[in-house]
């Protein structure tokens, strides 16, 4: 599935939920399902700055694709970062860099996050793009 398809799928799932309490409960479920990072990966290097709770993002490169794993000590945050992992994991750096990230606005997530948390989300996306940029510079496809 392309990044675009995955985003469309998330948007569809959220469209069935009427109020924001349901959407949060869904994010909490996603957060619970995301396998926790082992302590060895919860490093200072993997810690994303600018989040209200602690968020770690770990990346692995295999056959030219990036595989993300993430964790947070807060469940809703973990749910949100889980969406990012679903969307971006398993793609090439070029695909990630070229992607138009529209699902966050489409599901209304940005407007329902406080500005502090929206910044945190932005930091997560930037970190993913930075990893992709670093990987593509190392090995331009």
């Amino acid at each position: 599935m392309t990044i675009k398809d995955k985003q469309a799928q998330i948007v569809e799932e959220f469209s069935f939920m009427e109020d924001w309490m349901d959407k949060y409960e869904y994010l909490i479920e996603l957060g619970r399902k995301l396998p926790p990072l082992e302590d060895a990966s919860k490093t200072e290097k993997n810690l994303i700055k600018g989040c209200q709770s602690r968020v770690w993002l770990d990346v692995k490169r295999e056959d030219g694709r990036l595989y993300f794993r993430a964790d947070s000590d807060a469940l809703i945050t973990k749910g949100i970062v889980s969406l990012l992992v679903i969307v971006f994991s398993g793609h090439t750096p070029r695909e990630i860099l070229d992607a138009d990230i529209s699902f966050i606005d489409q599901i209304g997530l940005r407007e329902h996050l406080s500005p502090t948390r929206a910044n945190g989300l932005l930091s997560m996306i930037r970190q993913i793009q930075m990893y992709a940029l670093a990987a593509s510079a190392e090995n331009p496809a």
Binding site: M21, I28, S53, R54, D73, A74, I76
Partner: protein
Amino acid sequence: MNIAHIREQFPALHQKVHGKPLVYLDNGATSQKPKMVLDVLQEMEGKINGNIHRAVHYLSAQCTERYEKARTVVKDFLNADSEDEIIFTSGTTASLNLLAFSFGQTYVRPGDRIIVTEAEHHSNIVPWQMMCQRTGALLEIWEVDDTGALDPKKLEQILDKSEEVPKLLAITHISNVLGLVNPLAEIIQIAHYYNVPVAVDGAQGIVHKKVDVRSLDADFYAFSGHKLYGPTGTGVLYGKVKYLEEMAPWQGGGDMIETVSLRKGTTYAQPPLKFEAGTANFIGIAGLGAAIEFINGLNIKLIEDHENEITQKAIEALGQIDGCKILGIPGTYYGKTYEKIPVFSMTIEGAHPSDIATLLDRMGIAVRSGMLCAEPLLERFGITSVLRASFALYNTLEELDFFVESLKKVLKILR
């Protein structure tokens, strides 16, 4: 007058957020304002507006009068000796930065020591760290114990440590995390025995306790208007005249000078104007005066009893929640009674404060989560985040019940 009557005077409390009636429990961060204050701001912004202390015209005179009247109101509120001891600032943070700069310039030399406690807000830590960097002074930490209380013996140990006594003790009246009222009078007495002046962060203290700087014998007392039902961007630094007269000014500009000469140099005005460079927030300060007059018009005994009832019931109700741990429990520590204001910071096993606060927000409840600008204190307790519900005089027992019930619902979702 009862709490319901007081509540009616705060328009912001009567609104819905996310379609639910607002339950505002983030008063430790900022309070809502009574109509009396809002009216002053509107009247002045819209009509009575002229820059103070300068012109001879009507509007300027009106504003100057209101600004200086606010100084008298603050002076009486603190029971200070004179208006000269009342410096207007933009808030506690500005007050403490002013103090750290001016006090540091005048009295602090390389190798000197400044004491801060481990329970301080960042505003009462970082300005002193910066001052130490500028002057070459050293920061001494008065550590809290496992309950968050401060052992006066530890202060005496720090004071006894070397021949050269520290230059200043900077301490909060009431920690914004713990809500425990420090026995200030006793602490100041100890410090003064060693000839160490004391600067008090009163951001929370001024809101919940009657502050009498003369009977406390505090050398400096800083607070904000916006937590005291007054306008944002207003604050006060009280300081004893003997220090203010000697201290170097912080910011330069208009209003703080006596004469300015490009060739002969500049001489400064007397305090408090020496520390009020530029156009002051005179409309805000007039609003702060109105906020204090509003408080003066209330039955303080009624408010204190009401806040104490909330504190007692909240500790009881929250204590029944499985895994809920409140930081700062009132009681007797080191032979002194530590009261608690209705500020409840807590950790709850199996649920992150930011998740709890997010879900409570959907239910109309405003609470705080995170480090509360007190990273060293949280680190002392080995935690990275707390949930804080902080009550004001207009919060009701029904709101407390609703908060506790909603918290239980949220925990069912999260745990």
